[in-house]
């Protein structure tokens, strides 16, 4: 997904001379073709995130569209004030491409685990937050980013996630995609959780439980209208995120559903990382499993939630 993300930056830069790429201290060869062909639009500026975000804002105030790539934790946590003041307050056209969003860097420990990035960025007015499901959706999001106003945080997952997004669904920043019409259960996803949700839906349907999926690639601005439209027919809604359950997708879903005041409000559960620092290494998959986010676990949680609803009835 990161490879595709940077490929699109290259294509945008070739097309638009105002597109500038900035890396911090990326791996050797990062966007070498851009460096060779358009050296004036390529910068590698060192391990100085506070400076880079400010610099990117200054460039954006002079008409540039800046794509800044580094590890997600460093560009959200280290330079939070720059993100607020220099990007949010200024509505600067800076695109923060956060590598390793979620639990990707499991072996590296909590300093590198971006399990709070969405909550952090969501608190910033004018900030758009996008978490694509796969390389194809990343491409669509990146192409849309060129003309979008204000700053964008793009959560970049590792490479090789299965491609499950579909061209025919189209893509517009801020518009959630209904992958499957809601049934008794509605799974709400962002990022790579879409592929887990599709597998979980198959398991549920094998047991005769109808399951819809709403994929929220843009967590902010949140597509409340789309959620309310499908959630009103569901008995159980489960949000899935590779992120703390505080302040991310689950919070946005909860806030929206409660404020919607639905006549028959569905039961609701947030699946994600509880309020803790992940205390194991291992792999992205092993951590996802620890927090109940593999397909079987998701299906089981949905069933349990649904049974509460049936007891109530």
């Amino acid at each position: 997904m990161r490879k595709r993300c940077l490929e699109v930056v290259y294509r945008l830069a070739k097309k638009n001379k105002d597109v500038v790429f900035v890396g911090s201290d990326l791996g050797v060869g990062a966007l070498d073709e851009l460096k060779k062909e358009l050296p004036g639009q390529w910068l590698m500026e060192g391990i100085s995130e506070q400076h880079i975000v400010g610099m990117a804002a200054g460039m954006a105030m002079s008409g540039k569209i800046v794509y800044f790539n580094t590890i997600a934790t460093f560009m959200t946590r280290r330079c939070f004030e720059q993100n607020i003041v220099d990007l949010g307050m200024s509505k600067a056209k800076v695109r923060l491409l956060g590598s390793g969003g979620g639990l990707v860097y499991a072996p590296l420990g909590p300093t590198h685990l971006a399990f709070d990035d969405i909550a952090i960025m969501r608190a910033i007015p004018n900030m758009t937050i996008v978490a694509p499901a796969d390389a194809e959706e990343m491409e669509r999001a990146m192409l849309a980013s060129e003309l979008w106003d204000g700053p964008i945080y793009v959560r970049v997952a590792k490479g090789g996630d299965p491609v499950v997004s579909k061209t025919e669904h189209g893509f517009a920043l801020g518009k959630a995609i209904l992958h499957k019409q809601a049934g008794d259960v509605l799974l709400v996803t962002t990022g790579i959780m879409l592929n887990r949700a599709l597998d979980a839906a198959k398991l549920l349907e094998a047991e005769g439980i109808s399951c819809g999926i709403l994929h929220v690639h843009t967590v902010k601005p949140f597509d409340a209208e789309a959620l309310v439209a499908v959630a009103r027919d569901a008995k159980a809604v489960v949000s899935l995120e590779e992120h703390t359950v505080l302040g991310g997708l689950g919070s946005a879903v909860a806030e929206t559903l409660l404020e919607a005041g639905l006549e028959r409000a569905p039961h609701f559960k947030r699946l994600g990382v509880p309020d803790c620092f992940p205390d194991e290494y291992g792999s992205q998959n092993s951590l996802l499993e620890k927090y109940g986010l593999n397909a079987a676990q998701i299906a089981a949680s949905a069933k349990a939630l649904l049974s509460r609803s049936e007891v109530k009835c």
């Binding site: 060192g46 400076h51 610099m55 105030m61 720059q82 220099d86 307050m89 200024s90």
Partner: protein, 269 residues
């Protein structure tokens, strides 16, 4: 351009006090410290700006990184015609555009929103780099406070300005040697200050701001191949005897009748 700095300085200080009386807010000492620096830039003809066209792409940029000094900037921008005079007396009012820290999406002539310290240098570097990419020749000026140089991001920026040999960039440090709590030398010593900037690859000048024309002369001489810093030796609260070097006036904004009378007596032209 011949400027009567003494007269202009007193007028700006009078306006600032009128604004503070109305709003009962503001950093008087910090603003009084840097008035002469701003007069040199804006009224001395150093900055190429057009108040009628504040977004002219090839204008020079001036970023007041020590945003809490904005009381000094507002009257000067107003004098040049960036916004109407009525705005000055709406300072810190709900519907006014002039806040306790300047916001560039609100105030014509303000290039960046500052107030959180340690941001302006990096923004200025971005503007200077963008200008180079666009083939523009304009200059970028960034005013830092000395206390602001406690921030690590300033020194990140200094490394980068030097890496890119940004000779269109001029950093002006308002070096009054005092910050909110106490003397800079007590809170976090900066000396040897000029040597630090030199070590970071800057061309370094120092100027006594009792003689603003010396800063003016310095800024007319270009520096090639590297960024420059001018360490401006200033006095916090300059212009009124009992405000000068008096740390109470970093935040003090509720003035007694007697203080007001004494201030205007000293600022009489």
């Amino acid at each position: 351009m011949e400027i009567d700095y003494a007269k202009e300085g007193k007028e700006a200080r009078q306006t600032i006090i009128e604004m503070v009386i109305a709003a009962q807010r503001g950093h008087v000492g910090s603003a009084f410290s840097l008035i002469e620096i701003l007069l040199v830039l804006y009224k001395g003809g150093i900055l190429k700006v057009d108040p009628k066209n504040p977004h002219w792409p090839e204008r020079d940029r001036m970023i007041l990184s020590k945003g809490h000094g904005c009381l000094a900037l507002y009257p000067i921008l107003c004098d040049l015609g960036f916004f109407p005079r009525e705005e000055l007396m709406l300072y810190c009012r709900p519907k006014g555009i002039l806040g306790g820290h300047p916001e560039h999406l609100k105030v014509p002539g303000v290039e960046a929103s500052t107030g959180a310290l340690g941001h302006g240098l990096s923004i200025g570097i971005g503007m200077a780099l963008a200008a180079r990419m666009n083939g523009h020749k304009h200059r970028v000026f960034v005013i830092l406070g000395d206390g602001e140089c406690d921030e690590g991001s300033i020194w990140e920026g200094a490394l980068h300005a030097s890496k890119h040999a940004l000779d269109s960039l001029t950093v002006l440090v308002d070096y009054n040697r005092q910050q909110s709590y106490s003397d800079v030398s007590e809170v976090l010593p900066l000396e040897p200050f000029a040597e630090k900037w030199r070590a970071f690859g800057f061309s370094v000048d120092e100027v006594d701001m009792d003689h603003p024309d010396r800063l003016h002369a310095l800024l007319l001489k270009p520096v090639a191949g590297r960024p420059r810093v001018v360490i401006c030796h200033t006095v916090k609260g300059k212009g009124v005897s009992f405000i000068e070097r008096n740390l109470q006036w970093h935040h003090k904004a509720k003035l007694t009748e007697l203080e007001i009378e004494n201030i205007f007596n000293e600022l009489e032209i």
